[in-house]
Point group: C2
Chain length 206, copies 2
């Protein structure tokens, strides 16, 4: 017994999504069959048009519907603070805090094992932004490196840090890394030793 | 910070799928952004056309691309055996066994609390099929009731059983219910008492 072609093709597409196995893909497609035709047309139309109707913000490379994203267009935000992240989803998470500066989305991390070098992610455009800020004398520019605590995240942060230190004096540019330590609600007893070392290094006088 | 409209609309659609929460929906949509445009158009096109390009088999009501599904068109299958299930996914699971009869998909179960009565599922068309088989003297017809072991599954099975017993003599129709008991690999120690009672009732001489 095989599924009708269209059903099988759709199951194959759903299976390519992260966290969706064969059983889940089947369930999703059969669930879709219970949607009214009009809803399916809307849903399908949104997926078909996703790439056409979105672009990367020219400034910060976040997903946007216009040339510049809402954050970059907001003149009330701190202009000389750029938080560097790997993916647009990181921006979503950070926007829930009271951070009021700008972002720069790298769209990936340096990962030699997967053949992803510095030129494959948006580092060049970050340098261009910094150059412009320094030219406009909006200094010192703070670059907050907020990549994940993975090997790739750390090495990407180091790479950017070295690049900036080489080019600019410390009166023009301040480089910071987001804080590491125990998460809120985290137990010292169950924390791994790396996290604990970082938490000790990051201790603050109170 | 809000998502671009198309991204938010798409997240809303994904959230309506079973087992997909807000975080997963976001992750899926942002993952889709990494697909090439052509792939997105294919994927979207399949969803848009899902309803148009499929129908219910006129005979067994399974999902099909043609008037009759592949099972109903297969003349090598046992004609006077109809396995009654609630959903097309049940057919997929049962087709992995060596069952070689026909199916009838009810597309739901009788559930008065959700206002689903016998007339809302495909019971009428099952009766029509049985009538035709008896007219053609392909008797006795075996009706295997294979609805889930839930309250709705049991009461739907009982409803169909009563209906058939009223109309036909036992030389024309044989009604069976799929076996209940310990699943393969199941531990007696951990089985619930309902399953164990059913397993005892269903014991067989060896």
């Amino acid at each position: 017994m095989t599924f009708p072609n269209i059903v099988q093709d759709l199951i194959d597409y759903f299976e390519r999504l992260p966290g969706v196995g064969p059983k889940t893909a089947q369930r999703l497609v059969f669930y879709l069959l219970s949607f009214p035709d009009e809803e399916l047309k809307n849903f399908g139309g949104l997926i078909s048009g996703l790439k056409e109707r979105t672009c990367l913000c020219e400034n910060c490379k976040n997903i946007s519907e216009e040339t510049f994203c809402s954050v970059c267009k907001d003149s009330s935000r701190v202009r000389n603070q750029i938080l560097v992240v790997a993916s647009p989803l990181d921006v979503v998470a950070l926007e829930k805090t009271d951070y009021n500066g700008h972002y720069h989305v790298l769209h990936g991390l340096i990962d030699p094992l997967s053949y992803i070098g510095p030129e494959d992610i948006y580092i060049e455009s970050l340098l261009k932004r910094i150059k412009e800020l320094i030219r406009d004398e909006v200094v010192p520019v703070e670059i907050v490196l907020a990549t994940n605590a993975s090997m790739e995240g750390e090495s990407t942060a180091h790479f950017i840090q070295d690049l900036l230190r080489e080019r600019y004096d410390s009166d023009k540019i301040v480089i910071t890394r987001i804080g590491r330590g125990l998460p809120v609600g985290g137990d010292i007893e169950y924390a791994d030793d790396n996290t604990l070392s970082r938490a000790l290094d990051g201790r603050k006088e109170i």
